[in-house]
C-alpha cells in the first residue's frame, strides 16, 4: 500500500543554521506516530515542511504520492503549536471559519467533538483556559476528513485532566485510513497511544521503530529509551 507520508532525504537550513539534515521515513495509514525530540530538535520544523508552510532546502516530501503543494495541503490537517483562532471569536466562529476554509471539514463531527470536549458554541476563545483552548484546536484539526493529521505539541503545558481528554479524543476520533503524527517532548503520558515513534535529535532522525517492538526486544519503555538517547 502506498504510504500516506513519504519524507526523503529532507534538509532545512535557516541561514547558516541547519535545522534538519537528511531526514527520511515513511508513515502508513491507520497509524498513530509519535514524533519525539527535546526542545529545538527539529520537530516543529519537520511538521511545518510536511504541512507545506515552509519549503525544504533539499529532499522531497510526498503525501499520498503528491508532492507538497496545494493538493497535499487539502489532504493534510495541521494543528500548529500556536492557536489558529483569533481572540474576538467565539467557539462557533472558529468552527465556521474552519468549515469555510477547508472543504473536508465535517460539521457533524465537530459538533460531536465539542460536546465530548465540554466546549460550548457560545464560549469566547479569548476566555478559554490553555487546556480548553488546546481542546478547541484539536477539535478543529480532527474535524477535517484528512488523510494526514499533524498535531504539534497538543499536550504541552496543559493540566492532567485536559491531557487525558485530549488523549481520549485522539484515540476516539482519528480515522483508520489516515495517518496521525503527534509531536511531543512529554513521552510518559502519551507513549501508549503510539504505533510507532520517531526520534529527532539535532535535526537528524535517530530512530524509527514500532513501540511494542521496543518493549518486546529491548524490554523497556519508550520514555526510558528517550532518556537514554537524549541524555546530555
Amino acid at each position: 500500500m502506498e504510504p500516506v507520508l513519504e519524507v526523503a532525504q529532507v534538509g532545512k537550513r535557516y541561514g547558516s543554521k541547519e535545522a534538519l539534515r537528511d531526514v527520511s521515513f515513511k508513515a502508513g495509514a491507520g497509524k498513530i506516530i509519535g514524533l519525539l525530540g527535546s526542545n529545538g530538535s527539529g520537530k516543529t520544523t519537520l511538521m511545518k515542511l510536511v504541512a507545506g508552510i515552509a519549503a525544504p532546502s533539499s529532499g522531497e516530501i510526498r503525501i499520498c504520492g503528491e508532492p507538497v503543494g496545494r493538493q497535499s495541503r487539502a489532504m493534510t490537517s495541521f494543528m500548529p503549536d500556536k492557536p489558529m483562532t483569533e481572540p474576538w471569536m467565539r467557539v462557533k466562529d472558529a468552527i465556521a471559519f474552519s468549515a469555510d476554509f477547508f472543504a473536508d471539514f465535517d460539521r457533524a463531527k465537530a459538533k460531536e467533538m465539542l460536546s465530548f470536549m465540554g466546549l460550548s458554541d457560545r464560549d469566547r476563545v479569548s476566555s478559554l483556559s490553555k487546556g480548553m483552548n488546546e481542546r478547541l484546536q484539536l477539535t478543529l484539526a480532527l474535524s477535517r476528513n484528512a488523510r494526514l493529521y499533524l498535531l504539534d505539541e497538543p499536550i504541552g503545558g496543559v493540566d492532567p485532566v485536559a491531557r487525558e481528554k485530549i488523549l481520549d479524543a485522539i484515540v476516539q476520533y482519528y480515522s483508520e485510513d489516515s495517518c496521525l503524527i503527534v509531536s511531543t517532548h512529554l513521552v510518559t503520558d502519551i507513549e501508549r497511544i503510539f504505533d510507532e515513534v520517531i526520534f529527532v535529535k539535532d535535526g537528524r532522525l535517530v530512530l524509527h521503530e514500532e513501540v511494542e517492538q521496543i518493549r518486546m526486544t529491548r524490554g523497556r519503555s519508550v520514555v526510558d529509551l528517550f532518556k537514554e538517547v537524549y541524555a546530555e
Binding site: 501508549r192 511494542e212 523497556r220 519503555s221 520514555v223
Partner: protein
Amino acid sequence: MTIEFDNNAPIYIQIMNYMKKQIVIGKLGPGDKIESVRDLAAELQINPNTIQRTFQELEREGIVETKRGLGRYVTEEESTIMRIKKEMAAELLDRFVGGMKELGFTGADIVALVEDAVRDDANAKGGA
C-alpha cells in the same frame, strides 16, 4: 476497567492477561460480549492497533470468538476457560517455587510450608 500498565513490557500482553483474569474470575462470563476496539482503546487510552492485536491473539487462543457483524464474545467452551485457569496457576506456581528455591528451601520444605500456610489461611477465615 482499570489496568496499571508497565510501559517496559508489551502492552498487548498485559491487556491479554488482564482479560484472561477477568474471564477466570467470572467478571467476564462465557458468551459475554466484549467491548469494541475503539471503545476499549478510548477507555484504556491505548493505541487501537494494540487492542486489535490483543483481540487477535485471544481469538487465536480460542478465548474470544468473533461473530460476523455482531462483535466479539467470550468463548462458551468451559474447557478453554479451565485451561486458562490452569495456565495462570502454573505461572504463579513456577514463580513461587523458583522464589522459594532461591531462598534455599527444598521440595519437601516448600510443600510443608504451603500446607501450613493453607491451614492458617483457613483457620483465620473460619475464626473471623
